[in-house]
Symmetry: C2
Subunit: 392 residues, 2 copies
């Protein structure tokens, strides 16, 4: 079974918004063993949408966008035209809109017709639709990413899983390990040829998606055994969520001192709801003065080794945990560029540190990326170190 993703909206064809919905949907269907043959992005044009829907045969079609209340959101219209053409006994237009309005008042309504049902919107107000015609399964979702994702997870996924029932799939998420190395390890595992593997690189590592129409447990067990120490999640959680769970389980608090990652480490940690339980506070100490005054870094350390040094990273991590008396302190310091490199310290150099009451660990790496990417990679580098220490 294959899928066609149809992304609708002038914000996409005008380049105002990056099409993250298509990427999300491609990942999700891929994990069910449903390959995406094409992603088509068009503006809000009733005729084009209707034609594209009518041209599909035996596919899963997932559309996003054009379900809102403004005049240019016309996916409703196109879907109605499509249904009216395909089902002799389909509703009149006023009945169709009446049902959709009713949904807004009473979310229990779900069926609009034998071949068309409403999909509930767990995040916003506009419902989605599921229509079956011409051997196609058409899912119509809103364009706002949180709404599209919420509706996909809660309403579409259960239906797709039934269709892809006989497909086995499992995802291992790895931190601190890279694609090429994982590839080599997986190639040596017995049964490699009987499963389909996708490696999805992430900032902090790589996701391994194993799929097959046959049993995959033996292969997954072996992959897990060989890669155990890099696996942070098998249930889809992010690295931040895994760290959150470890901190809560261990009743530990944390403080963050960021230099080169410039606030992005803290942004990641605070994206997790409930993070105030363990994240006491964070400091972005760009200036040497702030490192000295707020974090208690020894001015001598900076004079002797520089602010981008293992010594400074160590004192930042130790200092930040002392200020508020947290269990753990983590720190980053590096050269995000484009300026700041010296003959001894190349552009992209970064030191990260972890400190608790017993240990202090410092690591370094050269991340050759543009400024904003460097900030993000530095943030994941220190989170990887934190995760490694927490799971010990």
């Amino acid at each position: 079974m294959i899928a066609h993703i149809l992304s609708i909206g002038a914000e996409l064809t005008e380049g105002r918004v990056v099409n993250t919905n298509a990427t999300f949907l491609a990942q999700q269907t891929q994990q069910l063993g449903i390959g995406v043959s094409r992603i088509t992005t068009i503006g809000d044009d009733i005729q084009e949408i209707t034609e594209l829907l009518s041209a599909q045969k035996d596919t899963v079609v997932i559309t996003t966008g054009g379900l809102g209340p403004t005049h240019d959101d016309i996916t409703h219209e196109a879907l109605y035209a499509f249904c009216h053409k395909n089902f002799d006994d389909f509703l009149e237009k006023d009945e169709w809109y009446c049902i959709i309005k009713k949904y807004a008042k009473n979310r229990e309504i779900s069926s609009v017709h034998a071949h068309a049902q409403l999909l509930k919107n767990p995040v916003g107000h506009a419902p989605g639709f599921y229509v079956e015609a011409n051997g196609c399964h058409i899912f119509v979702l809103p364009g706002v990413p949180s709404e599209a994702e919420g509706m996909f997870q809660e309403e579409v996924l259960p239906l797709l899983k039934k269709m892809a029932q006989k497909y086995h799939s499992h995802t291992l998420r790895l931190s601190g390990m890279y694609e090429s190395k994982v590839q080599k390890i997986l190639e040596k595992i017995q049964g490699r040829s009987q499963v389909d593997i996708s490696l999805l690189p992430q900032y902090n590592g790589v996701d391994i998606v194993v799929k097959s129409r046959n049993e995959i447990n033996a292969f997954v067990d072996e992959a897990r055994a060989q890669l155990q120490k890099y696996i942070y999640s098998e249930n889809g959680s992010s690295l931040e969520e895994t760290i959150a769970k470890l901190l809560i389980d261990q009743k530990k608090t944390i403080a963050v001192a960021e230099s080169c990652s410039g606030g992005f480490t803290t942004h990641l940690l605070t994206n997790v709801s409930g993070s105030s339980a363990y994240l006491q506070y964070a400091v972005v100490s760009y200036s040497n003065e702030a490192k000295i005054k707020i974090l208690g870094v020894d001015p001598q350390t900076i004079t002797a080794h520089g602010a981008v040094s293992p010594e400074c990273a160590r004192e930042m991590a130790q200092g930040v945990r002392k200020v508020m008396g947290t269990d753990i302190g983590i720190a980053t310091t590096g050269i995000s560029g484009p300026t700041g490199a010296t003959p001894n310290k190349p552009l992209g150099l970064v030191y990260v540190a972890y400190a608790d009451s017993d240990h202090c660990v410092v690591r370094d790496k050269v991340i050759r990326r543009p400024r904003v990417e460097h900030k993000k990679h530095s943030a994941y580098f220190v989170l990887n170190l934190l995760w490694e220490r927490l799971k010990k």
Copy 2:
């Protein structure tokens, strides 16, 4: 003239990579007055690519991807098949590949045929192509974003500009002003019907893109006059970059105290290269203890009004500037959710504050968005306040 963007690569249809190339190309062509009618994303399939190229009439076609050296990079093959079909006198396959190989050694080569020329790659090794056939202008670019962008800017843009020569375009970027209100103001301006306007909503406001084959200065001048106080940029700079310039020009330093925005405000400020010149330091004070201990918020204030209150926002902004003696302090405090709302304080409520030696300003707003979106909107809300104060 319209454009069709063709994004080629399994990394896109498998959801491994977000299609930022399409967004970049759509923005660029849009600015030239060339609208994008469709973006099609497909895997590495020679037949599909050849069919898609052959189906185009009178359009600008820009493809990305599939030009590399690996076995699944087959855009070369498809383009060759397309040229061979369209031009009776086209090269033999070995001649074609011979020319491409020569390019790798000598970048001076540019023409491969009367209807096909090479496009130089300023970043990587694979050349691109420009082919004219069936009234279509086909540009074939690499998939690596830095290579696609570099080749577009240096090789494609000059050619497209000639085609779109008579088009005028100007962009006004507004902060603290929203789409619906801007729409109403622009509707009343004389000459509205002679220009093409796109409103591009952003986190902090809206971008107005004015385009026309005719003169646009009179319209832009009037729009500027009416919206003056909301315009932060006419040269493409972001709000963070505008703020950076104001801080540097005024030789002012700043410190940031974030609660609900969780580090994202600081992340935005530090995305600007050279931000260490004015950003002394930032604190993410999630806990009340951190607000009291690090920022000097009065415990009585929190007891009497709560941590999410105008009083607390004010003391955070004043406190953070005192710690390091900066000229300015800014602060955010609010309820990002999904938990934390109370009967008097709705989910999404946020207070932001600005403090300098003479003034302290607090503003509030209810931002009804999911957690991560709420954090981002809160960050732009305080940056908007900062910008307004700096330009006074």
